[in-house]
């Protein structure tokens, strides 16, 4: 009976994948989309956060790949405005499927704005991780940190390798 379950979920997965890519086959247990979207013009951290740098303001959120692996977000905890964040230190948390996951900041700086819409609509992180699901806006204290982050192509490869390694 377990085999039938695997067979049907893989058949679903294969139907999805045959249009996108013939050679990329999915593991039986995840019926998620083939490729999580990765946007141009953003920088990415290995802990799956993105940064959009616009002059003196950097917007931070989590990537499509991250929200897909988290599941449906039911609660978001964000820092206060005027608090400071540091690179690779946790600044908030996201709760989904009974798991709270910490979010690490890809850059250091001062928090100038927080997305208050996420308190009432945490699902925005799932539906629009790069637009409406942004989490904090930061004034970077050390713009050179952005250079250490990955570009879109590097990040896509990083995700593929992470997913395939198991």
């Amino acid at each position: 009976m377990a085999l039938r379950m695997w067979a049907s979920s893989t058949a679903n997965a294969l139907k999805l994948s045959s249009s996108a890519s013939k050679s990329h086959l999915l593991p039986a247990f995840s019926i998620s989309r083939c490729f999580s979207s990765v946007l141009e013009g953003l920088k990415y951290a290995t802990s799956h956060e993105w940064v959009k740098h616009d002059g003196s303001v950097a917007t931070v959120g989590i990537t499509d790949h991250a929200q897909d692996h988290l599941g449906e977000v039911v609660f978001v905890e964000l820092p206060e405005e005027k608090s400071s964040v540091s690179k690779e230190k946790n600044f908030g948390a996201v709760e989904s499927v009974k798991a709270t996951s910490e979010i690490l900041s890809p850059i250091s700086g001062e928090v100038i704005e927080v997305n208050t819409k996420l308190t009432d609509s945490p699902g925005l992180i799932n539906s629009s991780p790069y637009e409406d699901g942004w989490m904090i806006k930061v004034k970077p204290s050390n713009p050179a940190e952005l250079e250490t982050l990955m570009g879109p192509k590097e990040y896509t490869k990083f995700c593929e390798e992470e997913d395939a390694a198991h």
Partner: protein, 378 residues
């Protein structure tokens, strides 16, 4: 009793079989990803979607050494011949023509690993001069050590102490000073709340808790209010999600599967929860609860399974914030004779280890000594 019967196949990959290369100027670098893709494609072409689907659950490329061209592939015992034939029929990996040759099959990864080491040592001895320093270092790095789970059997532990212990172990795990660790314990009667602090789901005033012999604690884990107490085994896995390749959702799903596996040992058909009802259910009754925290990729908190707790304690809360569903226990769901609690804890641990594909489970000696040192830190 071995639950999942696997076969581990040690294969040698001949690249561009016209020539005989070892190390120098190879046309394609073998990785787990490209080997796995090539084999899966071959299964699909030769055995169809149904064939691929039945192999896929247990198929896994466990080890690849791009220098010696050896790889270890795992498959379930029932499907291994299919996977073996598919591998023999693989014509190319990437753009490079290849031929697979089976060297050894065994039922456990350790025997296969030993065979692999022997074969690699021979290869190395035969053409040792051909390998550069860099390649030798690469080879040593690739010798994968089996994945071990270290289990701490702690008996009944006060909740706050268990939190302190988990914090300590999470930092140790993050710094890679300890392997993946599992705490197996119970708590005295304790109500706990998650990060959302949903204390409206506690139906008696906090002041009365002492009179019923219970404590209340606020935590950073996900999930709503729940009760822990005697005869309710609790497992707190302190794992590195990155090293097991799980995200939050797949980790929680694996915890659910562990409890479902365990229930089936007693003939109880449990299922995972529906959307927003994470946990393990028998029909409409909740038998297992989950609440997890992930910090820098390391998990803490975990699962609780009702064997035979005092169900009256659940009447004082809206368990997990779900108002119209009951809570149940293994005692209520089966007439089977239940073994001792120690045996039950061990069975639960074994189910979790299987679901998470650990090669080895090691029981830590005298873990309560650590608990005593925590007390001193107060």
């Amino acid at each position: 009793m071995v639950g999942f019967k696997n076969r581990f196949m040690l294969m040698e990959v001949y690249l561009d079989p016209e020539k005989d290369l070892l190390g120098e100027g190879t046309p394609v670098i073998l990785t787990k990803l490209n080997l796995s893709e090539a084999i899966k494609d071959s299964i699909l072409v030769n055995f169809g979607e149904c064939g691929l689907a039945s192999c896929l659950g247990s198929f896994h490329v466990a080890y690849v050494n791009p220098v010696t061209k050896l790889c270890i592939v795992r498959s379930s015992r029932d499907e291994h011949r299919r996977v073996w034939s598919a591998m023999t029929l693989v014509r190319s990996v990437g753009n490079c023509p290849v031929v697979f040759n089976l060297l050894d099959i065994s039922g456990c990864i350790r025997a296969c690993r030993d065979a692999a080491l022997k074969c690699e040592t021979e290869k190395f001895n035969q053409s040792g001069k051909g390998l550069s320093e860099e390649e030798i270092r690469e080879m040593n790095r690739k010798m994968r050590t089996p994945r071990t789970l270290e289990v701490w059997k702690l008996g009944t532990v006060n909740y706050l102490k268990s939190l302190k212990l988990q914090d300590k172990l999470v930092s140790e795990r993050k710094a890679n000073r300890i392997p993946d660790t599992l705490l197996s314990l119970q708590h005295p009667p304790t109500y706990t709340l998650g990060k959302r602090r949903t204390d409206h789901n506690l139906l008696i005033p906090e002041a009365e808790l002492k009179s019923i012999g219970a404590e209340l604690h606020y935590t950073q884990r996900g999930g709503d209010i729940t009760f822990h107490g005697p005869h309710q085994p609790i497992l707190y896995p302190i794992l590195s999600l990155r090293s097991i390749g799980f995200g939050a959702r797949s980790y929680v799903e694996a915890l659910e599967r562990s409890m479902i596996e365990f229930s089936s040992l007693y003939g109880v058909k449990a299922r995972a929860g529906n959307k927003c009802e994470t946990g393990v259910w028998v029909g409409d009754r909740k038998i297992g609860a989950i609440g997890v925290r992930i910090s820098s990729g390391i998990t803490c908190h975990g699962l609780a399974f009702n064997i035979d707790p005092d169900m009256k304690y659940f009447e004082h809360i809206v368990p997990c914030g779900i108002a119209d569903k009951e809570v149940t226990s293994l005692r209520r769901e089966t007439d089977a004779q239940l073994p001792s609690e120690e045996v039950i804890h061990e069975q639960l641990v074994t189910c979790l280890a299987k679901v998470f594909s650990y090669d080895d489970v090691v029981v830590k000696e005298d873990p309560s000594a650590i608990l005593n040192t925590l007390e001193d830190d107060d």
